[in-house]
Symmetry: C2
Subunit: 338 residues, 2 copies
DNA sequence: CTGTTAGCGCATTCAC
DNA sequence: GTGAATGCGCTAACAG
């Protein structure tokens, strides 16, 4: 059985208070002798403080919660790694919650994390979240007085601490690249259209089109779900559009396209060009290494955690926002069209 | 501020006990009227039980710890998903710990998890673990009376609960396939050679070779580290061996090979055949979809969690072992050699 | 039917 | 220098 303060008090003959004092290295005038006796006993009995009890009285758990929509997507597992590394540096733990893109899970997990008394939450909302859903989540956390920073997906109206990427520019770069390669008929496969970041990418897409004097055609837009399956599902549609290029709103979607293209004997980039979004580390080893928009995911995880921990230390709500600029990575999935 | 039992007791005029009784739906003869009053107050004040306090007295946290060596490897993130899904089904939480393949982190995390009072640990040991390291980890958990099941990597001498795969057969299938394709000079890029599963795969490799009357040549064995970097590092060596085929001990290693092959204008499978191991979901969309040995990772995560939770329920140490059979998935990275 | 009492393991204030 | 008392928020015997 695990040794408690009481056990080692009984063992040494000192009181629980004294033991607690020396074990926590508190400034007090306890003679070296006593200290040694207690330290030795603690060592011998293999004493480790019960963090549940410590947390209960200190009202701090040194634990952060991370909510993401899908860990099996490397985008999020890389993000989780960033969070975890900073947690470790700060003597923190991380509780990882995977919502499988269901907003309902978001709420459940928030409650669970609050109940467990985590010091703060890094919140990556589910893919099916509407603005209203997001507001619900935020309110839930605010009501319970929980510090949090939102990461990745976001709604401008939320006015909370947030780490993200300038997706308007991302969409713009992606589309502009395609245009510069000579493409005029450019389709796009979006993520869920109620998401702000999707709308931003779409804005970027339109902006680039407009600049090039190409008319926006809503028939060339397919609403996907940010995963391989929906990319694959979009393929037949894509073939019918007679487009020469497509902008997939994330890399996973592009992968779905790759799979179907291969099945159907369609060549990328010979038959059509593809630009992705995220720069997952697999993108460079694809048949045609994927041209994509890079998001600094790991750094985002790091930054969010730093902001959160800093805020917790100072006992104030995190307020900071930080928007990274995306970067176009040109590889071989796009080619000149003439 | 969060409402406590006391608050709602004060609000309703009943005692804390009574409130606790009705809120926990305990069998007791409390009149409906009182119940309603208390329930209403709880609702109104937004009461949620503080799990720290509950855990402290119940000596149960409904939380499991999962220790893995690298979440950004889809093998482990898929495993984590399996664990998480079963946790959710059982009203459990999961604390994810990522060790970056450092045994020292294993020990730290075990201590942390014990301190936090998790009910059990699913332990995927770090890649740099020796048998002695593994024993240390197990002893640490046993000393603290912690239930655990080991997953993925293992040492037979450990005699603990364990979920894994028959890697001897895996290595055998991989090599045999290559032999059946007509290859005679087959290299392999292993994982860290002190790991049991690596040695098993190697045994399988030798077994297949022997059956085919091919002499085992230690010069055709390269010790990798189970990641893309070491696969890439092995490439120049591989070219010098003049082999016609290579068995990469995991898919990530194979990916490293793909990257270098592409850089150097070497074609897979034209110039040489590759078999991987794991069947990560990216393997099928590679330039030459990877022939590989499939491990049922998700199921393994599920199984381990089920065993652990079941054991916890029955208040006994998990004992069960379960070894899955791997499966050869033939795709296009291997071709007939004549 | 409901309240009193005790205690989970620890930190902390205040006496002695 | 050290210890008794109190409380964190909750559950669980045991009375009444």
């Amino acid at each position: 059985m695990k040794a408690t303060l009481k056990d080692i008090a009984a063992d040494t003959g000192f009181s629980v208070t004294t033991v607690s004092l020396v074990l926590n290295n508190k400034p007090s005038k306890i003679p070296e002798g006593t200290k040694q006796i207690i330290l030795e006993a603690a060592q011998r009995l293999g004493y480790r403080p019960n963090q549940l009890a410590v947390s209960l009285v200190k009202k701090r758990t040194d634990t952060l919660g991370l909510i993401v929509s899908d860990v099996s997507n490397p985008f999020f597992s890389t993000l989780a790694k960033g969070v975890e590394d900073i947690c470790r540096e700060n003597g923190c733990n991380m509780i990882l919650c995977n919502t499988n893109n269901m907003h309902k899970c978001d709420l459940n997990y928030i409650n669970m994390l609050v109940d467990k008394g985590v010091d703060g939450i890094i919140y990556g909302m589910a893919g099916d979240s509407t603005l209203k859903n997001a507001i619900d989540s935020c309110n839930l956390m605010k009501e319970q007085d929980m510090s949090f920073v939102i990461i990745d997906r976001y709604f401008k109206k939320l006015h909370t601490s947030y780490i993200g990427v300038d997706h308007l520019m991302g969409g713009y770069y992606a589309t502009k690249h395609l245009i510069e390669m000579g493409h005029k008929k450019i389709a796009c496969i979006t993520g869920p259209l109620h998401l702000d970041d999707v709308l931003e990418r779409l804005k970027g897409y339109k902006k680039a089109l407009k600049e090039a004097g190409i008319k926006y055609d809503s028939k060339l837009v397919f609403e996907g779900r940010y995963n391989m399956e929906s990319g694959a599902a979009a393929f037949p549609w894509l073939m019918k559009t007679k487009c020469t290029a497509v902008f997939a709103f994330n890399d996973m979607t592009a992968y779905g396209l790759y799979i179907e293209a291969k099945k159907n004997g369609v060549s990328i980039p010979k038959d059509f060009s593809v630009v992705g979004y995220d720069d997952i580390y697999f993108s460079k080893i694809l048949e045609a290494p994927l041209t994509t928009i890079k998001q600094p995911v790991y750094e985002m995880g790091v930054k969010a955690t730093e902001i959160l921990i800093e805020a917790i230390k100072n006992k104030k709500r995190p307020e900071e926002q930080f928007v990274y600029q995306p970067e176009l990575i040109v590889r071989s999935s796009t080619r000149k069209f003439e």
